[in-house]
Amino acid sequence: MGFLKIFSKGENRPLTRLPSGSFTIDREGNVVASTLPQSFPAAHVAQISLQVRAAFRSAQQAEISISELIIDYAALRLTARELRGGAMIFLTPLIPN
């Protein structure tokens, strides 16, 4: 039944190419500065901020003192640096292979 795996991979979904840029959020999740184009959806910024803050917060609760997180997707790399409760987040589009 191994052939079924090709249907469950999900890599054939169309991928969105996001722009490169960065933004900074404070400890409440408010965007303090951004170099992203204005066309970049605010909802995306909010979703990314939420996950990054949650990851740093839960790491702190688990006593793992991380200062930087790098998340590699097929078409995007997110780099988040901890900034006194907030974070500086870089978006780098990748070419899916």
């Binding site: 979904r13 990314i48 996950q51 990851a55 991380i66 930087e68 997180l69 998340i71 997707y73």
Partner: protein
Amino acid sequence: MAAEQKILLVDDDQNFLDVYRETLRKLPGEPAVQTANTGARALAILEAEPFHLLIVDLNMPKMDGLQVLSVARRKFPNLPLVVWTGMTDEHFRLRAYALGVDQYWQKPSNPQDIESFRLSMDSLLNRQVNGGFRGVQSKSLVDLIQLECQSLSSSVIKISNGRLDARIWIHSGQLIDAEAQQLQGEEAFREVFSWKGGNFEILPPEPERPRAIFTSYQGLLLETLQALDESKAGEATATASAGSAEETANLTTMTSLAAMSRFEGVEFALACAPEKPSCSWGLERPEPMQQWLRQVRQGFSSLGEQLKVGDLRQLSCKDQRHFITITPTGDGELCVGFQNKLSADKIRETLKTILAKWGS
């Protein structure tokens, strides 16, 4: 006239240091209170002048409280040691007492606790030390090696067992060589552990000794002890039935993880799969890491779906000492902790090899 009593207070939180310096200064004996905000600084101060009491926080960056305590207990066996910490984990209490601390305190949070703490510190300062050996405990060779390596010491451990003689060389916390009978390096190290008992003493370091062991001390200890356990288990199960398939699978995973110690710069590894117990190597407390890992993977996987940027390929993070990679492996995750000083290329290459081996 009695000499002035001196207390050394160690904590990375400057506010605590300021508050408790004043509190302790008001003890009846009016002791002099000196503070240090890092473990390394505390040890330097201890080397420079004698103290009558050392109070150490456990949770500190770089050199944590347990490391400070282990070095202090070894170098200053008559110095009373006190832990004060915000950590409630019983595991730390046990480890601290195993290192020979005199008292273990949760950081006082109300006036009553503060008063008890003061009284207790006062009685420790006034306690008559009657000479003889203090803090000497029944330590195993494993404890001793861990202690030496964790405190980044350099020494030679001489082990005698009747006519048998062996030596283990440690340099700056790294296990560099061992010699037993005609054996050298890792083989000699394993040989020592196959002895049923013996005495050991610590000799001055020999920094010129060429390195013959390249595996980390955690990896080598784990492998050696595992091999011993397995051989004991083999003997025990000669007449009994074989273990369950699940246990065998866990053992295989453990062995694979321990084998990662052979890769340069790999300090720990953790393998998780849903509904299965996780296996780890080189981590003192794998549970919080495992929980965080699952949480973060779930969170970022769903973020990837929302952003439509494809599957989550890898997660990496940096802490003060490690570069940690988390790679989804089918239904689970494989987390590998590298030394921070390794180059990005080296980490990438090593991880590729590890993942290839892990997959196979």
